[in-house]
């Protein structure tokens, strides 16, 4: 475990926790009738009635969650088709593994497909070497693949989620584009399918938060977290993100925060919550001076100064990567950083007794997570020794790979 343990991670709590209550007695209750944006889902169903496409229905039973303008959104519990994230699976694989682990612990039926490509939006937002038709065709090919299995798409990546909502908007409003993409999908021998809802995994986490809470095995009451809401989750097609009047007075998205609070941990507020993580798509790969600066100066250092959290929790591929990896160089300069970063799915899995290396795979993360594990009551040294035994067995050929049976 080659991680740094700077002085700054010794978390002497001197900063009071400013929570998620708003400083007003006024209650804002959104009225769907006064929403400034159309409900695109009605148009999706109308296009089905006109024979333009098939609408894949959310499988029952489902959870109904409130969105920004008070409309309700159906979130499936199970029979989910996991639209994986290239960045999660490639560089922080404990993220996706934890989502799957949680499904298995809750006993939910899910499907992990091989007939799935990335949404390709990371590349699109980085290099623009694509176009509307290609991006929509990639989305609709994946939706068709999900439909053919009978499982409903659950999208792991915040950018995939946001981009697919943009694609849905464009396909609904641009009939020429819709015809072009339909022709491509039919030429591939696939059905032309739009899901009834476009659902992000963090919405599923929000939907099952009470079930997660019932399985928590560690006392998290002393854990202070800060939440970074992912830009592409709630800024793109903003009306289709979950908001709860009980959390931040309904003024910020409730996903992640609602789950972390249900697990029993504290969520602390900080002033730059709206800022992005600095990922930049292109910048994280070829112009990281920007990413490092923004992630540390505008996010991590502000969190440290205003909330001094034990952990930063978020719900997107790029955000975990930027906020975690950028801290190494800042630590080398003695800056006030040094907070572990992970997804709320990893945090929930840890809270529910998941193995920190076999399941949450924290050895893929950079910033030291051992103080957090210690505070949660998890023996990191013992867990690492257990994982090293797995590695030895794989290297010796006595174990082909780590199985689900071994981690449940």
């Amino acid at each position: 475990m080659a991680t740094l343990t700077p002085e700054s991670t010794k978390n002497d709590r001197t900063v009071p926790v400013r929570g998620t209550s708003v400083e007003t007695t006024k209650t804002f209750r959104p009225d769907p009738e006064e929403a400034p944006e159309e409900d695109l889902r009605e148009a999706v169903l109308q296009l089905e009635r006109e024979g333009e496409w098939i609408v894949q229905r959310v499988p029952e039973p489902y959870y109904e969650a409130p969105t920004k303008y008070g409309r309700m959104k159906k979130i499936p519990y199970e029979r989910t088709w996991h639209h994986k994230s290239c960045g999660q699976c490639g560089h922080i694989p404990g993220y996706s593994t934890s989502i799957f682990w949680l499904n298995r612990v809750l006993g939910y039926d899910y499907f992990d497909p091989r007939d799935q490509t990335s949404c390709t939006a990371w590349n699109y937002y980085a290099s623009a070497t694509s176009n509307q038709a290609a991006q929509a065709a990639v989305a609709m090919r994946n939706f068709a693949a999900a439909y053919e299995t009978g499982y409903f798409p659950l999208i792991h990546c915040g950018t995939s989620f946001g981009h697919y909502k943009e694609v849905r908007h464009e396909l609904v409003h641009d009939h020429a584009l819709r015809r072009q993409v339909r022709s491509i999908i039919e030429r591939l021998g696939r059905p032309f399918v739009m899901p009834e809802e476009i659902v992000h995994y963090s919405e599923w986490m929000y939907a099952v938060r009470d079930q997660l809470q019932a399985r928590v095995v560690h006392d998290l009451s002393s854990i202070v977290s800060t939440v970074h809401p992912a830009c592409h989750y709630y800024k793109l097609q903003s009306g289709d993100a979950i908001y709860d009047p009980e959390i931040y007075g309904g003024q910020r998205t409730a996903v992640v925060t609602g789950v972390v609070q249900a697990l029993g941990a504290q969520v602390a507020d900080y002033s730059t919550w709206y800022d992005c993580c600095g990922f930049g798509f292109r910048h994280i790969l070829v112009q990281r001076d920007f990413t490092r600066s923004f992630a540390t100066l505008r996010k991590i250092e502000v969190m440290k100064e205003e909330a001094n959290p034990d952990v930063v929790l978020t719900h997107d591929t790029g955000c975990v990567t930027s906020l975690d990896k950028s801290q190494f160089a800042a630590q080398a300069h003695g800056r006030n950083v040094g907070v572990p970063v992970m997804s709320e799915s990893q945090f929930a899995a840890l809270a529910m007794g998941a193995h920190p290396f076999r399941v949450t795979q924290l050895h893929w993360h950079s910033t030291d997570y051992r103080p957090l594990l210690a505070k949660m009551g998890i023996d990191a040294e013992r867990a690492w020794a257990e994982f090293q035994e797995d590695v030895k067995q794989i290297e010796a050929g006595t174990m082909d790979y780590l199985t689900w049976e071994a981690v449940l």
């Binding site: 682990w101 992990d112 490092r292």
Partner: protein, 229 residues
């Protein structure tokens, strides 16, 4: 005496600048991305790139709204690659989408093979190759210390143990090192067909002819016997 500022790209004919401007405004998305501008600066206040670069989403919206073809051309060359594409600028009270306008401007810049675009994406072509040929953008074997020296020694540790650590992942689809997960052959071939049928592969020819030729050969070979017309 203060000298007048020299106009950037003064050597480029106004007809060429106008042609590219028209490509931007004729994009199907343009009319829903730009409604005017209050000049309030909210987009700039929310913009991460504006904090670190000489960059302003407000100026992008205003230049396009004013049909300032000189400034739009300059931005297409010198500004658009600074944008983070986070879409924080969607806070615009006028309903503009400056980030979306930049997406369009970038597409036009790529399609027309602007020199500055080639320079901006010079270090990026291996990523384009990865996503277009495998269907996953980043892969575990990209985690190499020479590519990410600023991420510290943990990157080397991942690289040194990559194959075995990938096998120490319970999901069966994730034992890969060159892809983020196992992708079926049929799935990749369908992706290749999409790149070809939508003109995306042709876009690459404007950016990097060598890369285009390599990818075209891979895709043509894969599609030849696939039954995909």
């Amino acid at each position: 005496m203060q000298q007048p500022m020299k106009q950037a790209y003064a050597d480029v004919p106004v007809e060429e600048k106008t042609r590219l401007y028209r490509e931007v405004v004729q994009d199907a998305r343009f009319d829903t991305y730009l409604y005017g501008c209050y000049e309030c600066g909210i987009c700039v206040a929310a913009c991460p790139s504006a904090r670190f670069y000489d960059f302003s989403p407000r100026k992008i919206a205003q230049a396009l709204a004013r049909e300032d073809v000189d400034l739009v051309y300059e931005q297409m060359n010198d500004d658009v690659w600074n944008c983070s594409q986070c879409f924080s600028c969607l806070r615009c009270p006028r309903g503009n989408n400056p980030g979306g306008l930049i997406t369009i401007m970038r597409e036009v810049a790529v399609n027309n093979g602007l020199r500055t675009t080639k320079e901006a994406l010079a270090g990026y072509t291996r990523i384009i190759y990865k996503i277009m040929t495998t269907g996953t953008q980043v892969s575990p074997d990209m985690l190499q210390e020479d590519a990410f020296p600023d991420w510290g020694p943990q990157v080397k540790e991942v690289a040194d143990h990559l194959a075995v650590w990938r096998r120490a992942l319970p999901p069966e689809t994730m034992h890969t090192t060159a892809l983020s997960w196992e992708v079926e052959e049929r799935t990749m071939r369908e992706l290749y067909a999409i790149w070809k049928w939508t003109g995306t592969l042709d876009m690459i020819a404007q950016l990097d002819e060598g890369l285009h030729d390599i990818m075209e050969e891979i895709m043509d070979d894969a599609l030849e016997d696939s039954g995909i017309a």
